[in-house]
Symmetry: C2
Subunit: 418 residues, 2 copies
């Protein structure tokens, strides 16, 4: 079979699996999730051995220490993966839930019911735990999944996907619900995202390069975020100690992630008082400040920001800071430069908070809290399959509900349309 034929075959199998899944109720799916967790536990040594092979190859190919750490599966990390699958058992099953119901004057009963999306393509990079998280989440929402992980974790992903499918099958998981693309041929990604009529949704997770490559080729719907350019606006009416805590947390607690802070805007009325404190606090954390003219005049250690700084995602201990004349200027700046992921205002002024949350056009808009909370777990969704900065279907953290869609069921008694 050519690669094209192989991928068509995978697509057809996934569609058949999705149809078979439609008959499984919530209790049966939870038994299958438990069996998947049990099988991961039973396969622990095989998982570690496969991971060791991946690690050896990765070391030889000169992967960075940071990437090697992401690839590594320790017993603790395997425990966390297994716990993650078991935790899904306790989460509310979105499928079959009635969203609404109404009766028309002619007696037609219309129900809007949550149903699976169908077949989901998941494209991701190094971390092998995504294999388990994504497959289990897709399954809990009754979707078939085609997984395409990074080549670095291929050996381990094979064992993990096999354990999930084999373990689940003991309790009635239909064939081919969880399929893994095992070729490292890069064209497989293109083939996957062009399986129109088979793949209902592709979710790419990884760097901006990966996601742009997917978008350039895709003929099926994709939900994604390219990057996280998150802002904190420190209002004239801000509790400045709170603002310092929030900026430090949002910038420094994990600078390499998408909900980390990249820009701070400060109201000019408090700039002279606040900026030196900000510089001191961030200096202690070795954060480089790139400022506009007003900031550089008040913060001697700041470097002048270039125009492109306002659109840059550093993913590093660098922060661009600007002074704005008022709240509307802050909102205009954010709507122009934000990646529409997560933006925050720090202010004690209720009216400023409301104007900000109403007018800032981002997936998650915060008042007086760190942007780092944009996360399915932190939102109480129990897990997440990704974060969307798109506006259609899903925005912000995506979990079980976002892995479902709806259909209308219309019950009549013989009605015809006049």
């Amino acid at each position: 079979m050519t690669l094209h034929e192989q991928m068509l075959d995978m697509g057809r199998r996934a569609v058949a699996a999705a149809h078979a899944l439609a008959t499984l109720g919530p209790r049966r799916k939870n038994l299958i999730l438990e069996a998947m967790a049990d099988e991961l536990q039973a396969a622990r040594e095989a998982i570690k051995a496969a991971n060791a092979r991946d690690m050896a190859a990765a070391r030889q190919s000169g992967l960075s220490d940071a990437m090697l750490d992401r690839l590594l599966l320790t017993d603790k990390r395997i425990d966390a993966m297994i716990d993650g699958v078991r935790a899904l058992v306790g989460l509310q099953d979105p499928i079959g839930r009635r969203i609404s119901r109404w009766v028309r004057p002619n007696g037609l009963i219309i129900q809007k019911i949550r149903v699976p999306i169908g077949v989901i393509g998941m494209i991701y990079e190094a971390r092998p735990n995504v294999t388990v998280d994504a497959a289990a989440l897709c399954f809990k929402a009754s979707n078939a999944v085609i997984l395409r992980g990074g080549r670095e974790s291929l050996e381990c992903n094979r064992v993990l996907a096999d354990a999930l499918q084999t373990g689940g099958a003991r309790k009635g998981l239909p064939d081919d619900v969880i399929q893994l693309i095992t070729t490292t041929d890069h064209d497989a990604v293109r083939e996957l995202v062009q399986l129109e009529g088979m793949v209902d949704l592709v979710i790419p997770r990884g760097g901006e390069g990966l996601i742009r490559a997917v978008m350039a080729e895709a003929r099926v719907p994709v939900i994604k975020h390219y990057k996280g350019i998150c802002h904190v606006y420190v209002d004239a009416a801000a509790d400045q100690t709170m603002a310092l805590d929030i900026v430090e947390n949002a910038k420094c607690s994990r600078p390499g992630v998408c909900n980390a802070l990249e820009k701070v805007l400060v109201h000019e009325a408090i700039a002279a008082e606040f900026l030196p404190k900000l510089a001191e606090r961030l200096g202690a954390r070795r954060v480089e400040i790139r400022g506009d003219e007003a900031v550089c005049a008040l913060v001697p250690s700041a470097r002048p920001a270039a125009p492109e700084d306002w659109d840059a995602e550093y993913l590093d201990l660098v922060l661009a800071v600007a002074v704005v004349p008022d709240l509307p200027a802050a909102i205009t700046h954010i709507n122009r430069h934000s990646s529409h992921h997560s933006d925050a205002i720090v202010s004690a002024d209720k009216s400023a908070q409301e104007t900000f949350t109403q007018l800032v056009d981002s997936a998650c808009v915060y008042t007086n809290a760190s942007t780092r909370f944009t996360d399915g777990g932190e939102f109480g969704m129990g897990a997440e399959i990704g974060i969307s900065t798109d506006k259609l279907h899903a925005r912000g953290p995506m979990a079980l509900e976002e892995l479902s869609t709806y259909k209308y069921i219309i019950n009549g008694q013989g009605q015809i349309r006049p």
Copy 2:
């Protein structure tokens, strides 16, 4: 300005208009809708004159009588357009509605709130009333719209779009909320659907050719249906008189629309009894039946169906009919050949109804009713901007709620992430 620059300029204006719209509350929007309706009324003679120019040009270019009828605006049709705008005043405004709210253990208050999508591109063909319906619906959901109608109705569309924008402006409608593409250059469509970061959604309405052309070029999200291949399955337990009424209504009441019936599947247990009655009923309406072998054996007037008949959208007085051995075979046939628009079962058997509605993977699944009810007005949505056979964001009839998305507003008291 080149066409590209013109379209970029339109995109920028639309984004600014969308931001300005975010400050208008429901009462203000309703005042604007009333003013739009008043202005349409005041412009009635200008609308008719422009329509007369379009009609004259269309006659000269040899448009078919059916197309000419679609293009024509009578006083009655203008009344209906104006009434449609006024009817939107009474509909619930989706924007600002709280979808859900919860409090996290750390005290963060998370709210999921309906917000506008932003900028919508609307691409459509002859009927000038779509200009008014689409613009008014998009506006009621606080979206800016860029309209691209058919060249046949350009003169009339100009007057209509201008009346809406000018009338609305009297009550505070921001500039550029309703923009019309007035060039007939076909490249304008390509430019429009490639305005990434400006146009949030494109809705094409028209024939399959138009929609495929949009999809081939689009870089922004599109919600659409290509076609409506709708099925009625007549179960062994069907009330056969009801089945005849439903099939006749779904096939004959308006054969050229997407919710019209194209295929009938009959359970073999009743085939010998039901098919002659069906042939008689449809024969009286001059419907051509194309049947599988079993059908042709029972219906002398039937022509044998070719394999491609099962995937054809006739939009005409033609119907393909097959006999199936049982309910699962009917479901499998439908999931393979349906366009996932609207499919129905006629059966008195509750269990068969439930299996059918659970397993048929279409936007609208009916029991004992005509597929012709798939329509925003018939569903009680007050209006519709289109029908989606996509699975993401919106399925089935789309109206105000489907022209909105959501964002999360998170209110904290200084929370940082540990």
